[in-house]
Amino acid sequence: MDSHTQDYCRETIAAIITPPGEGGLGAIRIAGPDSAKILNSLFKPAHDPESIAGYFILRYGYIIDSHGDTVDEVTAVMMPAGRSYTGQEQAEIFCHGGQFVLKRILKEIIDRGARLAEPGEFTRRAFLAGRIDLTKAEAVADMVAAKTAFAYESAKNNLMGLFSEKINSLREQVIDILAEIEASVDYPEEDIETADRDEMIAKIGNIISLVGELAASYRSGRIIKEGFRIAVAGRPNAGKSSLFNALLNQSRAIVAPVPGTTRDYLTEWIDLEGIAVSLTDTAGLRESQGVIEKSGQDAARQIMKDSNLIIWIADASRKNFASEIEIDLKKLEGLCPVKVILNKIDKLSLKRLKAAKMIARGYSAVVISCKTREGLDNLRSKLVSLVSGSLPDLTDGLVVTSERHKQKLDLALESLKQAESDFKQNQSPEIIAFNLRQSINEIDEISGRIYNEEILDRIFEKFCIGK
């Protein structure tokens, strides 16, 4: 058990729940057994001061500090245990949205026995109280962290329970098959009619493709959550940094969607039509001289390997640039998809430009000039279609955005495939059941659910059994 849950049972926690900075309104949440006591001790209703606070009634009044001085005029609401976000007794205070006033009210609350909430602690309590399952708790974090339209849509889907519904339905389908097998194992003398072998194989096959699709969606899910990574690379002086800056200037810059992604070299995040895209300039690594050159090359290679796309920029004004591209692309093979850019077309004569465009066509390359900005708009729209082409349409599908979910789905998939092949090889039902149970265990770990007697219930529901 980690430290956050330590004091779940007894301690009352509080935090400012509106973002830092100035705003029209600021909010403070208090959760835990002493919430009502604390609120009543510092809140004085403006009308009918003797009235007892009712739940879910927004009251207008004042925050009074320990010296009897008024801190701010506010509205406040109480929620009973079992009917609040955290599942515990909870209070919320809405005051004026300045940091100073918010902190003063928070201090009054802390002085009255509450503890400052840890990051994510309200949601953790909601999970501990059984208000939300694990997938939803995780979605809350995703929702808060969402920086782009795609990340928002996906977090919303999960928060609305679409993902847990899907997981539950998969689980139900596996239990259904398992019940058939268990019935035949536990009641060998009953003439129960279970589905035939081919039908069961088809059912498992169907589940396998559903789980497989879900697991595969993590490729997109990871992009939605962690962003689409582009490495800008090329030979020395091909114009990497110029292109890097040009692309940055075209789009809205954002902060990184996941922490820990900043590196020693230059990485910037942009919002490209609703998708968080990172651009990493590999310049300055390879060009550096001396002892660090080798490690610089290795680092650049690693960046490219971790990317979703490499923009390989080549200097079209060099005589033998075509053969250089040929050699460079060989080296990049197996890393990730590459988009070739031919830069410096402003330096070319019409004849050479024509030749360059011919070569470009062969690589589906984009020709540009960072200097004159020619071709940059075209490049941007190419990038948009490349990036959004890597993402599904969120309106008709769910996307796995958590690595934990992806790992469990892969394990479930492995067991399901084993069950399918066992079925085909006429393996004994106890072994098939073993693998199906393993897959249920993995699925259950996704939603944090605990195994119970559902299989027996299902058997009795479905079959006429008994002596």
């Binding site: 079992g82 501990l128 194992v185 004994s428 072994i431 605990i450 007697e453 008994g466």
Partner: protein
């Protein structure tokens, strides 16, 4: 402390009570076995059979712990079969038809030969207490018997009420009187007492059955025995017969449904879903054209037949008319009507996994009083209660086998973690570690306990040790011995890219048994069939068992996180009300057990674990 008459009193001489008294005797303690009729020990009140899925596993575990059930059925069985032979060794199950009277007589003689067991004919009336502990039993006729530990195995006798149509007869079992005062004693001690229901079919006169219209089901040769102590021998096996209900059966039963005690509203308590009455089956699955009925002989010296599948609480005349519509039973005579019986039980949240009650130290409950059904389940619980009553007297930690090592462990844990809504019966699907819990390795799983508690003779332990050693050697040999793939007829396709293959790998092919590989063994390698079979099954499952090892480890870890017995569950804050009530009710002994209580979430367990740590820290 007053003088005690016995070390332990066992109330009830059914399958649970008998195993309890015998285990106590093996552990060197004396017991009084209270029964209403000392000629009726371990009577088979329902079907005349031992074993079946999940149940045979329990019998083998009982046998490995020195119990009597396996020996009794081996000595008195009239037909032995192996179920599920096509479905893999972990779910193979032995089942035997018993000579009902012979079985009962075998047990009576066995108990009589045990000098540490004193059989007393009496009906228990009151549970006596002294300073918050159990101190003995007062019988209905006023006799006081003192002992510091008491095991109650009341079966269907506690508040028993038989229903046949609209007739209600207070009775404990087939014409015997019930125990009503004892039921009151439980209530006045503050126990919650609930009602359960079970049923039994009418019995038939075999001379009036036309077997030519039924399908004979012979026994298996050589007969598969239950007990490790039984030596191979020839027996004359008697067949069972399979037959079916007809459209006429359905019509009669549906027309008379209202007269059934179960449908008229006369019975409120829940019966087992896995053992529904014939009227229930026909009503609920009316689209099924027919129901099958097994005709099981009740013994060698009798013509009485048990029609398995025809349990009913319809009036006797309707039973008579309905059973005559079953194929082959057109002229059958009933020797006794079927009935439903309601009885008192103590919902099992009131016991610890040791089967001792939370409420009254020294009082143990075993068998149907815990909400179980079946002779095997009862016998298993009786055995455990017997062992734990002795350990209680000796102030030693209780014997609590776990889910990963035995069906007994699965049963105990299920009982103390779930509310009983219907009589509990074992199924193999209840065991999540089923591939480990096989009939063939019951002794491997139980032998150390059997020795620790002196439940088997030391010689039996020694000879089993030798067998285990030989099995290990055989496994090593089968792993080392390679043969050319070309020698494999029919299985070569499994090893396309291989030249040679070990015998162990061949055994992992679905359907391959030890008999197949026996022919590849040279004279020098030849080993006894029993050892070869043991080694083969172990090899077959080794891959799956190691695959599950991570889960078993996780399970063991959460089991080892103990919850102090005096944790004030009722007062825990920060828990959902539902979770707090459940914890307070079941009083789980480990976090693992707590997590298996129905309706409990991961969050509840997290919160509970915090309380446990705080509580433990404050106390130390």
């Amino acid at each position: 402390m007053k003088h005690s008459d016995f070390d332990i009193i066992v109330v009830g001489g059914g399958h649970a009570g008998v195993e309890a008294a015998l285990a106590i005797a093996r552990m060197g303690k004396t017991s009084a076995l209270l029964t209403m009729d000392k000629t009726k020990l371990a009577l088979m009140s329902c079907n005349p059979a031992i074993g079946g899925l999940g149940k045979s596993h329990i019998v083998k575990e009982i046998d490995a712990l020195g119990g009597v059930m396996g020996q009794a059925i081996d000595a008195t069985g009239i037909q032995f079969r192996k179920l599920n032979l096509s479905r893999g060794p972990a779910v193979w199950a032995t089942r035997a038809q018993a000579d009902r009277i012979g079985y009962n007589k075998f047990i009576c003689d066995f108990v009589a030969a045990q000098s540490k067991v004193t059989v007393i004919e009496a009906t228990a009336g009151d549970i006596l207490t002294e300073q918050g502990r159990v101190s003995g039993i007062r019988t209905e006729d006023g006799q006081t018997i003192l002992a510091p530990a008491v095991i109650i195995c009341s079966g269907t006798f506690l508040g028993g009420l038989i229903h046949i149509g609209d007739k209600q007869i207070p009775s404990g079992r087939r014409g015997e009187k019930g125990a009503y005062k004892l039921s009151q004693s439980f209530r006045s001690l503050g126990f919650e007492v609930g009602r359960l229901k079970t049923g039994t079919p009418p019995r038939l006169d075999g001379k009036t059955i036309d077997y030519s219209k039924c399908e004979a089901q012979p026994g298996l040769e050589p007969p598969p025995f239950f007990s490790y102590r039984s030596k191979p021998r020839e027996i004359k096996q008697v067949p069972c017969h399979l037959t079916y209900t007809t459209v006429a059966t359905k019509e009669i039963i549906l027309a008379n449904l209202k007269k059934s005690a179960m449908f008229s509203g006369q019975i409120h308590s829940r019966g087992p879903r896995y053992c529904p009455s014939i009227e229930d089956k026909i009503y609920r699955f009316s689209d099924k054209p027919r129901q099958h009925i097994f005709l099981e002989p009740e013994g060698n010296g009798t013509d009485e037949i048990y029609p398995n599948g025809f349990s009913t609480s319809l009036p006797a005349d309707v039973q008579h008319d309905a059973i005559r519509t079953v194929i082959g039973l057109e002229n059958v005579e009933m020797t006794q009507a079927g009935y439903a019986i309601e009885y008192d039980y103590c919902p099992s949240y009131q016991i610890k996994p040791s089967l001792e009650t939370h409420r009254l130290p020294g009082l143990f409950l075993a068998g149907q009083i815990n909400g179980t059904s079946g002779y095997e389940e009862a016998a298993g619980l009786g055995l455990i209660a017997g062992i734990n009553a002795v350990l209680y007297l000796q102030n030693e930690p209780a014997f609590i086998p776990n889910r990963a090592e035995s069906y007994l462990g699965v049963m105990l844990d299920d009982l103390v973690s779930h509310s009983t809504t219907e009589p509990y019966r074992m199924f193999t699907s209840r065991a999540e570690y089923r591939l480990r819990l096989r009939e063939d390795n019951a002794r491997d799983r139980m032998i150390e306990y059997a020795r620790r508690y002196s439940l088997i003779p030391e010689d039996d332990y020694r000879s089993f040790e030798v067998l285990q050693k030989q099995t290990r050697a055989a496994i090593a040999m089968l792993e080392k011995k390679y043969i050319a793939v070309s020698q494999l007829d029919g299985y070569a396709e499994y090893f396309v890219k291989r030249q040679s293959i070990s015998l162990a790998d061949i055994l992992k092919i679905p359907g391959v048994e030890y008999k197949y590989i026996a022919k590849f063994l040279d004279n020098g390698d030849r080993i006894d069939n029993e050892i070869l079979e043991r080694a083969s099954v172990a090899i077959k499952y080794s891959g799956y068992i190691s695959k599950q090892e991570r889960e078993v480890e996780k399970f063991r870890r959460s089991e080892s996180q103990k919850i102090p017995a005096d944790l004030p569950f009722e007062k825990l804050t920060g828990l959902r009300n539902e979770a707090r009530e459940k914890f307070a009710r079941f009083r789980p002994t480990s976090l693992g057990q707590a997590s298996r209580i129905e309706g409990v979430t991961v969050g509840d367990i997290a919160a509970l674990s915090i309380h446990v740590r705080k509580f433990t820290a404050q106390r130390s």
